[in-house]
């Protein structure tokens, strides 16, 4: 069993932005979802975990080793897919994976070749293995990103917004791939797509402004909100009135009509009860933190 413990982690950038504000988390094998709006500090946290950035204070213990002082240790067991990445021109998918596999320490030639081909097959790039990655479409490139994250023998895989830019079919394929491998190792999935977390993760945390607002299992969160979420279709003009009267947690358009969700212990007038979704959990948490 692998474990990642984050204790009292803080990081402030030189321009005064508090990117990480006293974070504490414990993560074990399985998929862990990290939810939060843009700028919440997710990417900073991940960069610190993988050793690309330093922290000001706190500890990150991976399998009993403090990786803040020994960044190489986690890198030996890491697969990382950053939010946005490019590739070198003039290099084929196979050759670039080969390069990265060597960097990760897969130095047995036969084993390396076998793993790369299997991975390419898994991410449906086998036919394109001799093409330059540079020429890949967004989805292909993202799949390449997943393949490289799984090279070697990762015990922790960190993926930052992996499904951004993927079409629905590719997203599904990607998610099933992650869940397949997520049993034996830690997978941290950073995203703002609540649905992905609901589908894949057994544990999750919600972050905003550098702090963890909530931490637990999606099922527990949903249970907590059971019977407390109500919805109503309103006109856009009425929004202001409802805002002052109710605890609106989210509003969205459905077929062109404004639809609001509110949080309330008892049924307010003219509202319909709804089964809470993880999205409601997410917005509730964010709203509560603002309040």
């Amino acid at each position: 069993m692998n474990s990642l413990k984050i204790k009292n982690l803080s990081k402030t950038y030189s321009n005064g932005v508090k990117a990480i504000n006293n974070i504490n988390l414990e993560i074990e094998n399985g998929m862990f979802g990290l939810l939060g709006p843009n700028g919440a500090g997710k990417s900073s946290l991940m960069k610190i975990i993988v050793g690309l950035q330093s922290a000001d204070s706190g500890e990150i213990i991976f399998n009993d080793v403090n990786v803040l002082s020994n960044t190489t240790y986690i890198k030996k067991h890491l697969g990382f897919l950053p939010q946005d990445f490019g590739v070198y021109p003039k290099i084929s998918a196979y050759n670039l994976l080969n390069h990265l596999a060597i960097l990760k320490g897969v130095t047995n030639d036969a084993e390396r070749k076998e793993q790369i081909l299997a991975l390419l097959d898994k991410v449906n790039l086998f036919q394109h293995r001799k093409k330059e990655v540079h020429t890949f479409s967004g989805g292909m490139r993202q799949r390449f990103g997943v393949a490289q994250a799984l090279l070697g023998n990762p015990k922790i895989v960190i993926v930052d917004e992996p499904t951004a830019g993927l079409d629905p079919e590719e997203r599904n394929r990607f998610n099933s791939l992650l869940s397949e491998i997520g049993e034996e190792i830690i997978i941290i999935l950073s995203t703002h797509l609540v649905e992905d977390v609901r589908n894949l993760c057994s544990k999750m945390a919600i972050m905003n402004n550098g702090a963890v607002l909530a931490y637990g299992s999606p099922a527990d969160f949903l249970r907590e909100l059971n019977g407390k979420i109500w919805q109503k279709e309103i006109s856009k003009k009425e929004m202001e009135t409802y805002k002052s009267d109710f605890n609106i947690i989210s509003s969205q358009f459905i077929s062109g009509k404004m639809n609001i969700h509110i949080l309330a212990d008892n049924n307010p007038e003219n509202f319909e009860p709804v089964t809470p979704t993880l999205e409601d959990v997410y917005f509730t948490t964010l709203n509560q933190s603002k309040a």
């Binding site: 190489t72 590739v87 596999a101 060597i102 990760k104 320490g105 793993q115 090279l151 023998n153």
Partner: protein
């Protein structure tokens, strides 16, 4: 257009990096102006229009640097920021955008050039050489600034914009910048610039072509002003007419034409080429062998090495597969090839050199280093930021073994440097084949690695380290440029004098076939090891995380490197004497202040010298023991004697012995007070034992070059002498004022009262040298023996000679022949045999001519000895019975090369005739204005007559015409003197005009009459008769020439008249 222009300008001025650049320009410009001795001649004022234009042409070339830097940033601004699609979807018009951008590029580049020029001139007015000025005229500055700085910037920026916009490739812009610089280098070679005219004069046709096509206009400038007089240079700006006008107009038109083309044709956005991917069978392939499973990972040393190899492979694919790399290689080949060609061909006056491996290697070392630095700085920057630029760094850097990338980058740079070095070596070998010099010494080529590749590799590591430490792309680059300029280029040699810190620099020294790179190799190696150790320590210190730094392996490595640095450092520094020119000046001044009174006090004369010299070539050392016989020839009592020893000599023993007393001397300069006066005609003796050794870290003296093979010393200069030495005075008037010295000792005027009595001596010199070497001194070789595994030689002069003697020692091959009772001997380096027979033949011819026309040869031996090029400053020099020739100038020239010039004939004729004309036993002119006419002009005359004898009048006329050209092109830089008052430094008068005038004279009154005058002159004024002055010869001429020619003779020798080519054929 205005918006884009203003936006670019504003954003430039918002960057503090730009202010640092401006600050650097100000600092470098000012220091440069203060220190650069850009003066072409003392007579041309520093702020004369010619001088200002001359400096501006050169400073305007910095525009290549500025334009390239700014072009690479401005032209790719949108592409770099990925802003193109947004910008070009706005209604901005292509023409507006391109012109606005170009205007900004031009403006910023011009501002930098202008700033540099202005600051340089300000610095110059505060400079050390602030003498010689006229009043300030603004237009003298504005005119060249417009014609050179503006137009050249227009040209470079438009070329670079064109390349940038049409190719959308940043590296190609850099390569174009490099190519522009190479165009400049080549143009300079053919420009007829006064800086190059001496070393590598070019034919008139080449200069004419250069004047038309040189895009920077300085060839046209030099062409237009080549025949200007001093007055014109001091008062006129070059007129915008003729070739100069055509050139500037042409460049202007080409520049605007290029711009027009860009505006018409260049696209704004890089068109992504649609590559049709081949639908190969690949798409049907299915992979169903195994399913994904984890693979074992290892992180041992060998695994890290594999990672490093993988990084290196990717870097090299990236670099070697790119077009710019090929272009850079071609540019290097072209630039070095042009230098090789020039080194072999050597202009029009000197025949081809043999394309020896040594010549090729020297050329590579001196030129490749600087150009390769540019490539290294570029590629280091490119490699260091490659991962970032591709946005691949997050993935790469989160792998376990990514830290090996730093070393992979260094290794890749190293391989690039090696590839370029090998390419240069191939080019050298190719030139050797091309010029049919098949003696290819591959071991000599290895020096390319030692002197350029290795320092460049260290530079690569340090440059990468700076990038790593600074972590800001362009600030890092700026720091690297400054670091490189100071530490690795000749510019820095002025700033960094400590030999330890020069480990990134190359050797600016020519290979010697006789002595290789001599003792400089060892010093260079120590320096390099020191550099390696320092680089190693820095890398360990900054590369390893602090936590690992204290483990035993890094500590041990740092300790080892530290030891290495310490050992080599102490080895280098123990013998190092810092060169402080101020200290030298102060010593000269204090000598003058302390001892000038002895100039007028009576001092004894040396009449006989018995000496032994023990040479230790392998240690760069020798010991002189000597015994002088002194005589008071003054007619007055002498009670104080000033003794002078040479610099850097250890005085083991020195003692003055009179009939009454023995007075020891211990200091370099010492006044001996006699207890009893030395009476007129009374004799005394002086015994001494002195030792000399030089260390490579301090450099050697050209005329005191005791080296492992091919030593040459004008050794009489280092023997102790008596009385005040005016030669030791500070010459520069400005410095004399600063040091509060009065008037310097003037050179005697041509018409000062005659006082010349010959102070000739008899010399008996015994030399010992190492077992394999042969030592050659002056006079006759009397005895030769071996003792204690050393060779001994005793030389004696059979006739009295001036106090002027030299010696050489080397492993010689020898050619001997007896002819008309005299021994002819040629001592040469065994591989330099090509011209030996020919020299012998010409020597015989010369002796025949001189004995028949001027008088008997005073010795029994005629000896030529080759010496290594560790001695520079002459092609050959004549001493009594011996003529020494440097190995790399004339003696080993390829006579069968392109122009078929027989320089050996000239060498033999000129130098041997000095045994009649010059300071060698027969006639010695009195040291005063005009003296050079009585030696060099006569030697030139003899040379020309022998040329005529051997090859006919036409061939001689060609040479006469060449000398006329030299004279006419040089006379515009200095005040003219008539031949009979020629100053010793005006060699274009004493040699070149002298040759022309003597030729005219021989045509006018006949060769036979000229020779008769020369013969009569010699009989009258040779030792022991009184010394002659120039009018004595002119009087002899009047005696033999018909009266009707007297007026013409006066014009030739006593007046200054213009001589043109048509004047050569009047007779």
């Amino acid at each position: 257009m205005k918006t884009i222009f203003l936006f670019d300008i504003k954003s430039r001025f918002q960057k503090w990096g730009f202010y640092i650049l401006l600050l650097l320009i100000v600092a470098l410009g000012f220091i440069g102006g203060q220190n650069a001795r850009f003066s072409v001649s003392e007579n041309i004022f520093l702020n004369s229009p010619y001088q200002i234009s001359f400096i501006t042409t050169f400073l305007s070339l910095t525009t290549i640097l500025f334009s390239t830097i700014f072009a690479s940033q401005l032209l790719f601004k949108e592409a770099d920021a990925r802003f193109e699609l947004l910008l070009f979807s706005t209604p901005v018009k292509r023409r507006q955008y391109l012109l606005g951008r170009y205007a900004a590029l031009f403006a910023i580049s011009v501002v930098c050039v202008l700033l540099l020029i202005i600051v340089f001139f300000i610095g110059q007015s505060f400079g050390k050489f602030a003498g010689n000025k006229t009043s300030f005229v603004l237009s003298y500055y504005l005119y060249p600034i417009v014609l050179f700085a503006f137009i050249n910037t227009l040209f470079t920026t438009s070329v670079l914009s064109c390349v940038g916009w049409f190719t959308k490739n940043k590296l190609l812009v850099y390569v174009s910048g490099l190519l522009l610089y190479i165009v400049y280098m080549v143009a300079l070679m053919y420009s007829g610039s006064p800086l190059m005219a001496q070393s590598m004069p070019q034919s008139e046709q080449a200069q004419l072509i250069a004047a038309y096509i040189d895009p920077f206009g300085f060839s046209a400038f030099f062409h237009q002003t080549s025949n200007w007089s001093v007055l014109e240079r001091n008062t006129q700006v070059v007129s915008l007419s003729g070739i100069f006008f055509i050139n500037r107009l042409g460049v202007l038109l080409i520049s605007t034409g290029l711009l027009f083309l860009c505006v018409k044709k260049a696209s704004l956005i890089k068109k992504s080429k649609y590559k049709k991917v081949k639908e190969t069978v690949l798409s049907h392939e299915k992979y169903n062998n195994t399913i994904y499973k984890a693979a074992g990972t290892h992180h041992r040393l060998q695994d890290q090495l594999k990672a490093m190899r993988s990084f290196t492979k990717l870097h090299l694919i990236y670099i070697f597969k790119s077009i710019p790399f090929v272009l850079t290689a071609l540019a290097l080949l072209f630039a070095i090839g042009m230098e090789m060609y020039a080194e072999i061909e050597k202009g029009i006056r000197i025949p081809q050199k043999y394309a020896s491996s040594g010549l090729m290697v020297s050329t590579i070392i001196q030129n490749f280093h600087g150009l390769c630095i540019i490539a290294i700085v570029y590629y280091a920057h490119e490699l260091f930021w490659k991962s970032h630029t591709a946005n691949f760094h997050l993935i790469e850097n989160s792998t376990a073994n990514f830290k090996t990338n730093f070393f992979a980058k260094w290794l890749s740079l190293t391989l690039i440097i090696l590839a370029f070095s090998v390419l240069m070596i191939f080019e050298g070998v190719a030139f050797q084949f091309l010029y049919n010099y098949s003696k290819i010494e591959l071991t000599v080529y290895l020096y390319v690695f030692l002197f350029t590749t290795f320092p460049l590799i260290l530079l690569g590591g340090l440059v990468l380290l700076i990038h790593k430490l600074v972590r800001q792309k362009y600030i890092g680059l700026g720091l690297i440029v400054v670091f490189t300029l100071i530490m690795a280029t000749p510019l820095g040699k002025k700033l960094v004098s400590l030999p330890l810190l020069k480990f990134l620099q190359t050797l600016s020294f020519d290979y010697s076939d006789m002595n290789g790179f001599g003792e400089y190799i060892a010093v260079f190696e120590w320096r390099l090891i020191f550099g390696l150790a320092v680089t190693g320590i820095l890398l360990l210190f900054f590369h390893l995380p602090k936590s690992k730094l204290l483990k035993w392996q890094p500590v041990l490595a740092i300790a080892l490197f530290g030891m290495m640095a310490f050992c080599t450092g102490t080895k280098l520094l123990t013998n190092y004497q810092s060169k402080n020119s101020d200290a030298g000046l102060l010593a000269q001044a204090s000598y003058e202040k302390g001892y000038r009174k002895y100039q007028t006090l009576p001092q004894p004369t040396i009449t006989n010298v018995i000496t032994s010299v023990d040479l230790f070539p392998e240690n760069n050392a020798y010991t002189i023991k000597g015994n002088y016989l002194l005589k008071n020839k003054t007619g007055q009592n002498i009670n104080e004697i000033l003794v002078n020893f040479g610099d850097d000599f250890i005085i083991n023993k020195a003692i003055l012995i009179t009939s009454e007393e023995r007075l020891p001397v211990t200091n370099q300069y010492q006044v001996i007070s006699l207890h009893k006066d030395l009476l007129p005609d009374q004799e005394a003796s002086f015994e001494f034992d002195i030792h000399y050794q030089w260390k490579a870290v301090n450099g050697h003296q050209s005329f005191n070059a005791i080296v492992a093979n091919g030593s040459f010393m004008r050794i009489s200069r280092y023997y102790p002498v008596f009385g005040y030495m005016a030669d030791n005075e500070v010459q520069d008037e400005y410095q004399r004022k600063q040091l509060q010295l009065g008037e310097a000792t003037p050179v005697k005027q041509y018409d000062a009262p005659k006082s010349g009595i010959y102070d000739f001596i008899n010399l008996d010199m015994t030399i010992s040298t190492s077992a394999k070497q042969f030592a050659i001194a002056v006079g006759e070789l009397k005895k030769e023996w071996k003792e204690n595994n050393r060779n001994y030689f005793q030389y004696k002069t059979s006739a009295a000679i001036p106090f002027r003697f030299a010696l050489s020692s080397a492993e010689y091959a020898v050619k001997k022949e007896k002819y008309r009772g005299k021994r002819f001997e040629i001592y040469y380096h065994p591989t330099h045999y090509e011209n030996v027979e020919h020299l012998l033949k010409n020597a015989k011819l010369t002796i025949d001519y001189c004995e028949a026309n001027f008088g008997a040869y005073p010795f029994n031996t005629i000896r030529f000895a080759e010496i290594s090029n560790f001695t520079r400053g002459f092609a050959a020099t004549a001493y009594p019975a011996t003529i020494y020739m440097t190995e790399d100038m004339i003696f080993h020239a390829n006579l069968k090369g392109d122009k078929q010039q027989d320089v050996i004939n000239e060498l033999a004729g000129h130098e041997l005739s000095h045994l009649w004309w010059g300071n060698n036993s027969q006639m010695s002119p009195d040291e005063r204005d005009g003296a050079a006419m009585l030696s060099e002009t006569f030697a030139m005359y003899t040379e020309m007559m022998l040329l005529k004898k051997m090859y006919g009048k036409e061939k001689m006329l060609e040479r006469i015409k060449m000398h006329l050209d030299i004279y006419n092109s040089q006379k515009g830089f200095a005040d003219e003197q008539p031949l009979y008052k020629v100053k010793s430094e005006s060699s274009h008068i004493s040699y070149s005009k002298g040759a022309v005038v003597m030729y005219q004279l021989s045509e006018m009154i006949g060769e036979e009459k000229v020779n008769r005058a020369l013969h009569n002159f010699l009989v009258k004024y040779k030792y022991p008769n009184p010394k002659p002055i120039t009018t004595d010869f002119i009087d002899e001429l009047y005696k033999v020439a018909d009266v009707k020619f007297h007026k013409k003779i006066e014009e030739m020798f006593i007046k200054v008249t213009e001589i043109n080519e048509k004047d050569l054929k009047l007779y």
